[in-house]
């Protein structure tokens, strides 16, 4: 389909090409983004979406090809130049100074001197008005580090709008948002479109594409494979175009056969780093051969619960039993030896060393295992072979064990972490947000592995903010709110409505609790 002739496209990419050594991240990518539309960009992990958007924002320069903004050819060497041309970008990892207030961050973005009181007052007025115009609720005097992610994101958008962005690029903006925050974001994007702004939305959530975009471009292995009008396509078609085969949107799973209790938690309590109680005396069990899902809005104690179970956080009370043994006093290494594995929620912070090669990341936490060395020595060859095998099995691309982990795309990093923790052959697996930032093909794969683990008689504790994921995988569902378990539902009785009420803190009247 060709671009409508009556208006110059806001952004026109022509033959953009980019290589990272052997990796061909963008192959002659050409497409146009109509002004005043929301344009979706989807594709598998490593398809080259972030690379392309970084090129548009001047963070990286293409090896070949040209970029036209509002019909004019541009060659950005620095984000400054992209910003000057009216392009704004909100990265998945925000570029904010956490111990500054929101206003100070905005002043910084302006390059304005924060010194004079008059200047500050004028700036406050300007940003207040802008925030009001766009219906962006941002507390200007709050310290950024203490704001919820959703609000931080709004601040980033405000920052971009303040720099007069006409084209706004959002790279996986909803990966870290709660459903309510995501809804707010999409309402905002709709208002921006109505004002004539252009939005490019990169996401793995096809539902979002269907709900808010006008047009969508699909990339696979660096190249554009389809460009569609959203109204004329379907979820299933998008999924197929993306992966190149038909995808199961819902994992196939037989009934579970729970056996003995492997993980038992009794009156567990834990606090966060500032000493605020986050887990308030909760009790539950996970049996061999079952997946127990913990649903809840992010920030209701799930993170602290997982960290406490893994041994990273010291509990303030209660007991944790692993296969009948009290492990509350054991460190993570001892728990691992007892058959515990852990896919952390925040993989970049906890689960990997970004500066290390992929193969060195695949032994993280398993560095003492006999198969990775002899005595005190590491066996580099065995480690590389193990990594190559895991990469093949989990379809990690590029399949290069020596590549720095940070150079892998987000979804491929996640696959490596999954490969490592499942590969450890655990009795009990703790998983937090297993498919955050992962493409649908890989989601299908990861879900299959989790079900296979269950069917092999292992215990899986799944923490996820994605209700779909909980409903698709769990045999039993616990809902957390404010550090407590609001209720428990067997999968068969769970519906989005019931879970939604519990997540909001409304206790189930029919007590399923023990």
């Amino acid at each position: 389909m060709s671009v409508s002739p009556e208006r110059v496209p806001a952004l026109d990419l022509r033959g953009i090409d980019k290589r990272f050594g052997p990796v061909h991240a963008n192959r002659a990518v050409s497409f146009a983004v109509r002004a005043g539309t929301i344009h979706g960009l989807i594709g598998e992990n490593g398809a080259g979406k972030s690379t392309l958007m970084n090129i548009v924002y001047g963070l990286q320069s293409p090896d070949a090809g040209t970029l036209l903004v509002q019909g004019r050819e541009v060659h950005f060497r620095h984000p400054r130049e992209a910003i000057a041309a009216g392009i704004g970008m909100v990265h998945q990892h925000f570029m904010l100074v956490e111990n500054f207030t929101a206003l100070e961050n905005l002043l910084l973005a302006d390059g304005a001197a924060a010194g004079s009181a008059a200047g500050r007052a004028a700036a406050r007025e300007k940003w207040d008005r802008l925030a009001l115009d766009h219906g962006l609720d941002v507390p200007l005097d709050a310290v950024v580090g203490e704001l919820p992610v959703g609000v931080q994101q709004r601040l980033e958008i405000l920052k971009a709008l303040g720099r007069k962005a006409e084209i706004l690029v959002l790279d996986e903006p909803t990966a870290v948002l709660t459903p309510a925050e995501a809804t707010q974001l999409f309402q905002l994007l709709g208002r921006l479109r109505a004002q004539g702004k252009t939005v490019i939305l990169v996401t793995h959530k096809l539902r979002e594409i269907m709900a808010v975009t006008d047009r969508v471009t699909v990339m696979r292995q660096g190249a554009v494979v389809a460009e569609l009008d959203t109204a004329a396509t379907s979820l299933r078609e998008l999924a197929e175009k993306m992966v190149g085969r038909s995808v199961l949107l819902q994992v196939e799973k037989g009934p579970g056969f729970p056996r003995e209790v492997l993980l038992e938690v009794e009156q567990l309590a834990a606090s966060d780093d500032r000493g605020v109680p986050r887990v308030k005396g909760i009790s539950f069990q996970v049996r061999a051969g079952e997946i127990v899902g913990i649903a809840g809005v992010a920030g209701n104690g799930q993170s602290e619960l997982l960290e406490t179970l893994a041994g990273i956080r010291t509990p303030t009370g209660g007991a944790i039993r692993l296969a009948g043994r009290d492990v509350a006093g054991d460190d993570p290494a001892q728990r691992r030896r007892l058959g515990l594995a852990h896919v952390p929620e925040d993989r970049l912070k906890l689960g990997v060393v970004a500066a290390f090669a992929a193969e060195d990341n695949l032994i993280l936490g398993q560095q003492e295992r006999p198969e990775f060395g002899r005595g005190v020595l590491l066996d580099r060859r065995a480690i590389a072979a193990g990594c190559r095998q895991a990469m093949a099995e989990y379809d990690v691309r590029p399949g290069d064990p020596r590549l720095r982990l940070g150079a892998f795309s987000g979804g491929n990093q996640q696959k490596l972490v999954m490969a490592r923790e499942i590969g450890a052959g655990p009795q009990v697996l703790l998983v937090g947000q297993p498919t955050r930032g992962v493409d649908i093909g890989a989601i299908e794969f990861i879900h299959r592995r989790l079900v296979a683990l269950r069917d092999a008689g292992k215990a899986v504790l799944l923490v996820s903010v994605e209700l779909d994921e909980i409903l698709g995988l769990a045999d039993r569902i616990l809902v957390m709110n404010g550090g407590e378990i609001m209720g428990e539902l067997p999968r068969a009785e769970a519906t989005e409505e019931k879970l939604g009420l519990l997540m909001a803190g409304v206790r189930a009247e029919a007590g399923h609790e023990d």
Partner: protein
């Protein structure tokens, strides 16, 4: 604002240090010209002074030995995420250990005294590093602060010991008596003479070989053992280390012990290898130069050995320079050394950005020209 520019590996390892060095030498040349001497002559003399003759090379490598030991010490701590500024003091106390063994072992055979001296140098150096390490691991006091303080404590302690305890009776200068012939590390020229090679005499001694071996050992420890892996994880991402069941406090202590032991090797070279007695201030700032050596050598043993030879050459060639050119005094040589440290250590990131941009442009251009004519 933007992330540090990424250079290809070869450029990061070779080109960037070379550009930094060239810039430092260029500025030094300007200074030399201002002093009224010819920069070309000065550079020639510097080079000849460092590598021109057999004994010049010997001296260069003798100085380099100190820098290898201290550079390795800084690098090991760096990989564990620790900034050890105390190599100077650890070397000083390590030397005390070497000296005490050499003094005590007057009647023992060399094959007993020398290994004991090596062990004592490492052990004393490690012990001096242990206290700051323990304080950081258990009490949270930063090693940057405590190791600096321990440099001063080491200096005061050594002065006290030399003036009051170890001083050779009936002597004015604070030095111990000479070690016996059995407690002296063999000189390289002596060893080569036994093999039939005639080389000029220099203080270069067996400690140089020990330093190279220590480099190999560090490489194996850091990149080929489970302990080294744990150490590097703890340094690169402490939160991930906890996740992986690694005890960061234990790593801090282990890394600092090794770091201090390596620094102690300097005492071996200076005392058992060259001075043959304990004297004041024998580390002579090599502990601090070790920081620049580690930085320039990218904290890798091979790079550290190369950077150590460079700094050894600057020391040796520099002293030759001030000897030959009357208008260039010792102080100017120190300034030149300082410039090299400044450019290669502290200011490398100044060149990184422009260099990355230049390389990127060259690459695109070469690809474009290849489009027309196959190269």
């Amino acid at each position: 604002m933007s992330a540090p520019a990424k250079l290809p590996r070869w450029a990061d390892l070779v080109l960037l240090p070379a550009v930094s060095l060239a810039a430092a030498l260029l500025l030094s040349a300007g200074l030399v010209a201002v002093m009224g001497e010819s920069p070309v002559t000065a550079l020639r003399l510097l080079f000849a002074g460092a590598f021109g003759t057999g004994d010049a090379i010997g001296y260069t490598l003798y100085y380099a030995t100190n820098f290898i030991f201290t550079g390795l010490a800084v690098a090991v701590a760096y990989h564990a995420g620790l900034f050890n500024i105390g190599a100077e003091g650890q070397a000083y106390i390590g030397g005390l250990g070497v000296g005490l063994v050499c003094l005590a072992g007057g009647s023992w055979p060399a094959w007993v005294v020398l290994p004991l001296a090596v062990a004592a140098g490492a052990g004393f150096g490690a012990a001096w590093a242990f206290i700051p390490a323990w304080l950081q691991a258990r009490r949270g006091s930063h090693v940057v602060i405590t190791t600096i303080m321990f440099n001063f404590i080491a200096a005061a302690l050594m002065t006290y010991l030399l003036v009051n305890v170890l001083i050779k009776p009936g002597q004015q200068s604070p030095e111990s008596r000479e070690f016996g012939a059995n407690a002296v590390l063999p000189a390289v020229h002596g060893l080569l003479a036994k093999l039939g090679f005639e080389v000029a005499a220099s203080p270069l001694n067996l400690a140089f070989g020990i330093a190279l071996a220590a480099g190999g050992l560090v490489w194996v420890l850091l990149w080929r053992t489970r302990w080294g892996y744990r150490l590097r994880v703890a340094g690169a991402n402490p939160a991930a280390a906890v996740y992986a069941g690694i005890n960061p406090g234990r790593i801090t202590i282990g890394a600092m012990l090794l770091s201090g032991a390596l620094a102690g090797g300097l005492g071996l070279n200076e005392l058992a290898g060259s001075q043959h007695r304990i004297l004041l201030d024998f580390p002579g700032g090599a502990g601090f130069v070790g920081i620049a050596v580690a930085l320039m050598g990218r904290n890798h043993p091979v790079g550290i050995c190369a950077a150590a030879v460079l700094f050894g050459a600057l020391y040796q060639g520099g002293s030759q320079l001030s000897f030959d050119l009357p208008r260039i005094n010792r102080d100017l040589v120190v300034v030149i050394q300082g410039l090299v440290i400044l450019f290669c250590g502290a200011m490398e990131n100044v060149w990184r950005g422009p260099l990355a941009a230049l390389l990127a442009r060259l690459r695109v251009e070469s690809r474009e020209s290849r489009g027309e004519s196959q190269k």
